[in-house]
Each structure stands twice: as structure tokens, then as C-alpha cells.
């Protein structure tokens, strides 16, 4: 569990006009992509055949799978719910960037590939950078 999820409020206090505005944040996708990369490292580095090593190996695979899926879900939420047509005008490659990032999530589920994991981190960072630029 990361620090952010420990200190994050469990409640929302609304300061609205009546239309609810969601809170969006690319951090969840960033952390998930980092986790995938970390798991690829653990899987690749795992050579032991004893029970403890096999357990760690299998867990690492499971966590990689899970976090690649979390990453995809978080990206899709940003894509469909946060970004608006005005953003697309300013960032014409936005759809392509998201599409490729989502595909990289799948690739990281299918394979144990440090390059794919690094590519996913880079793709999520690109999206996070665009996200924060729209917040300025």
C-alpha cells in the first residue's frame, strides 16, 4: 500500500454547482505502471526453485497481471471521463497516445518484457504530463 492511498481522504466534500465534477488524477496509473516494471524485474531475477522462490515468482506474475489491468482501467477513466474535446484540439495525438498506452498494458500482461514495461511507464508519463498541463 503506498503512502498516498493511506493519507487519501475517504470522504468527499462537495463544493459544486449542481453538476458533479469528478476528481481525476494520473497518479494511480503511474503507480500501477511502476509496479508492473518492478514485477518484471522480480520475475526476471527469480532463479530459485525452492518453494519460497516459486511462491514469490508466481506472486510477482499475479501482481504484474493485476497492476497492468489497474493501469488500463485508470487510463481509460482519464481518457473517457476527464479529457474533453478542447483538450483534443490542443493535443491532437491524445487518442493515439491513450490507445497505445492501453495496448501496452495488454502487452505487459501477455509478456515478461522489461522494454514493454519501460514503454508503458513512458506512455503513462506522457499522459500524466498532458493531464497536468491541462490543469494549469
Amino acid at each position: 500500500m503506498d503512502l498516498r492511498s493511506i493519507i487519501a481522504p475517504r470522504l468527499v466534500a462537495h463544493a459544486h454547482c449542481d453538476i458533479p465534477c469528478g476528481i481525476y488524477d494520473p497518479s494511480a496509473a503511474t503507480i500501477a505502471a511502476q509496479t508492473v516494471a518492478k514485477m518484471v524485474e522480480k520475475i526476471t531475477g527469480s532463479t530459485g526453485t525452492d518453494e519460497a522462490s516459486r511462491n514469490l515468482f508466481i506472486r510477482s506474475v499475479a501482481v504484474k497481471e493485476e497492476h497492468a489491468q489497474i493501469c488500463k482501467k485508470e487510463l481509460l477513466i482519464l481518457w473517457s471521463d476527464y479529457f474533453k474535446p478542447e483538450h483534443l484540439e490542443k493535443y491532437p495525438k491524445l487518442h493515439d497516445t491513450f490507445w497505445k498506452a492501453a495496448k501496452l498494458c495488454s502487452k505487459n500482461k501477455q509478456s515478461v518484457d522489461a522494454q514493454a514495461a519501460a514503454d508503458l511507464q513512458a506512455a503513462v508519463k506522457e499522459i500524466a504530463d498532458i493531464f497536468w498541463a491541462t490543469k494549469k
Binding site: I7, L11, V12, H14, A15, C21
Partner: protein, 110 residues
């Protein structure tokens, strides 16, 4: 919505309290036992939907209830007592004391 602890955290959603509070601010809130005072920022149950919390500023406190209003200069940006009227005192849950995130906006809530 009645948080069980004397201190609790909320995430601000929406723009109606700008510039005091921004969408995404994380606040530490102290449960309020005394009556609210005019000028204070409070967290209150939405009179139209009690499970939902609002964060607004107290304009006035009268026997008929507490008038709350968003800080935003444009009234269209806030739904508050100007639409739903005064809220009962019992609807006021707490008072935000401190903003602990984002890091560059850490500080007291006034």
C-alpha cells in the same frame, strides 16, 4: 453522513469555494460541537441528500437555520443556501482546519 471520529479527512470536489478551496484539495476536518459562526468554512450534510457532504462558508446563523454560501465570485458556480435556503444547525458536521495536500497549498483553512 456523520463521520465517527473527531477528526476526519475530506477531498474537495468542485469549484464553488474558489479561491479558498480548490477541486482536489485534501482537508483535515474537526467535528464541530458548538454552533457554527458566521465567516467560518464548514462541512455540512446536503439538505437535499443527507449522505452527501458539502463544504461552504457560513454567511449567517439565525434561529431558522444556518445560511451557507460558496466563495466563488460567480453565483452560478455554487449551489448553496441561495437555492435551498438555510440548513438546520444539526446539518453542520465540522470545520476544515488544515489543508494537507497538495503540497504547495498546505496551510490553515480560513
Amino acid at each position: 453522513m456523520r463521520p465517527a471520529t473527531a477528526l476526519f479527512a475530506v477531498a474537495v470536489a468542485g469549484q464553488s469555494m474558489e479561491p479558498t478551496l480548490r477541486d482536489g484539495d485534501w482537508l483535515l476536518v474537526r467535528r464541530l460541537r458548538r454552533p457554527p459562526r458566521p465567516g467560518e468554512v464548514v462541512v455540512a450534510a446536503d439538505p437535499r441528500e443527507p449522505e452527501r457532504l458539502l463544504v461552504k462558508r457560513v454567511r449567517s446563523v439565525a434561529p431558522e437555520g444556518v445560511t451557507i454560501q460558496g466563495d466563488h465570485a460567480d453565483p452560478a458556480e455554487s449551489t448553496d443556501s441561495r437555492q435551498f435556503g438555510p440548513i438546520p444547525r444539526s446539518a453542520v458536521v465540522g470545520r476544515p482546519l488544515f489543508r494537507y495536500a497538495p503540497l504547495d497549498r498546505i496551510g490553515l483553512v480560513r
